[in-house]
């Protein structure tokens, strides 16, 4: 089974995080929602592997 990588995998975490938030700067709630949805779809497609996706879905749903 392919496993979801939950180790740190992003080289510059602070830069990444700032960049992610910057996507939403000056955007209305509905524009932001749309960007998030498109981003999720793009990334899911990039991953492709349904086993990995399933683990990501589960992790996302945990509180």
């Amino acid at each position: 089974m392919n496993t979801l990588n939950t180790d740190a995998n992003i080289a510059k975490p602070d830069d990444f995080y700032a960049r992610l938030l910057a996507l939403h700067e000056g955007k209305s709630k509905s524009e932001s929602d749309a960007i998030n949805a498109r981003l999720v779809l793009i990334l899911c497609n990039h991953i492709g592997d349904s086993e990995v996706l399933e683990q990501a879905f589960e992790l996302a749903c945990e509180n």
């Binding site: 509905s30 929602d33 749309a34 949805a37 498109r38 999720v40 779809l41 793009i42 497609n45």
Partner: protein, 539 residues
Amino acid sequence: MLQDRYQLAHKVYPYERSPDQDRDSAVRHPVVIVGGGPIGVALALDLGQQNIPVLVLDDHEGIGLGSRAICFAKRCLEIADRYGCGEPMLEKGVVWNLGKVFHKDAKVFEFNLLPESGHQFPAFINLQQPYFELCLVERLRALQAEGAPIEIRGKNSVEAVDVRNDHAALDVMTPDGPYKIEADWLVACDGANSPLRDMLGLGFTGKVFQDSFLIADIRMKGDAEFPTERWFWFEPSHGEGASTLLHKQPDDIWRVDFQIGWDVDRTEELKEANVRRRLDAFLGGASYELVWSSIYTFQCKRMDSFRHDRILFAGDAAHQVSPFGARGANSGMQDVDNLGWKLGLVIQGLAPEVLLDTYSEERVYGADENILNSTRSTDFITPKTEISKIFRDAVLTLARKAKFARPLVNSGRLSIPCIYDDGPLNGPDALEGGPAVTRVGAPMVDAPVDGAWLLGQFGGGFCLLTINTEAPEILDFGGIPVSCVSVSAHDNPELGERYLGAAKTAVYLIRPDQHVAARWDSFDETEVRKALHTAIGRT
């Protein structure tokens, strides 16, 4: 009193008094079918071709006006061809391959069904339902002329049913008053509102969708150019509504289907001026004649079981789906395909009655698949929550630029036949390297053979298909003949690809409905006998 519920397009079975009406006691028939819609008539063709006496009762005198179904799928045409009327449908129908999807004003993408070569029938034709039904009834008349024991009685309304030990008793109303008949086997093909289902107090469960659709069939006048394509709009900016579909039919008629919401005043919306207001906004000034219009709502429901002892349910009476995907009539035809031979064998005493339970099992499985697909389409077209609307719009926006999002766009997944994986009648799938498309449970896939079509040589009875190997021309297993069709895959790559895969030789056992019952790499009589027994419910 007999009240017409709809106008007729073709009065093809006018009322005639039957001798049954003058008898003191009820006449017993082997099979009575209630409902002379497409599904009831198709079943009569199946049984009539097997020489099983069958009587069809319908409360009208022919085919209803108004088109309803327009998309007929390949498998449906192949089944019709088995009944001898696939070609006239194909000849009259419009073949289309190109589809375009729009969101608001912008084109999202287009797709081509890219027909695969080496099939007698295309993936789809568009044909008004009355034409489809007319082809079936004309075939029924031709079979009658050849002496097939089929009878159809118009203006014979079934008013009550009484289930007895080994038959069902019916009260039938006619313009000459009531009479009674009995049926060893009763098949309810009486449509989505099935009076028989109600009379028997049987449930029909599922979801009602809170939406309605205004359909208009229009004939274009002047030189307005509309292509032979399927155009689908999500949230069209012309006119209101969640979606609009434009689709070509024969006779220069186009179907326009507006999704108009739940809280609508039907009478008001159906006034010609209001229908035209929507059409004008949509067509922008083109001139047209309004041929037919109607408003419909839909539900995705099915019965728990399609067999209730001596009574079987088929078509819309057994299950109903949303029209997205064209799975109504198309799946009803698969019901008939599945039921006809089983009922035939049971009536002839060649198979046990439990075979009829497998009709319910296999077709409930099919109905669930259809309901799942059409519910998913409906949820995509009319998102039910805020977040599902956000994702839906994200898919549509991305699909313009990114190929990956296009398969996610769901404006109706067009009907494909059900494969009875793990079905109760399946025998061994023992062809190593055999292709998945023709695995056990699947309907056969067509291929060209020696200037003819493979499928044309199957159906009706059990058959062996041998490829690059031999089997006896005819075998007999306890009164059930199995004939053999032997073909070579040399210089026939389509046949090889569809039936051999990585194997060198193959032997397929084919059911009368052209589904694969078992497959091996070589012929072995004991194996074939075992698989045949499994396929007819003998244990």
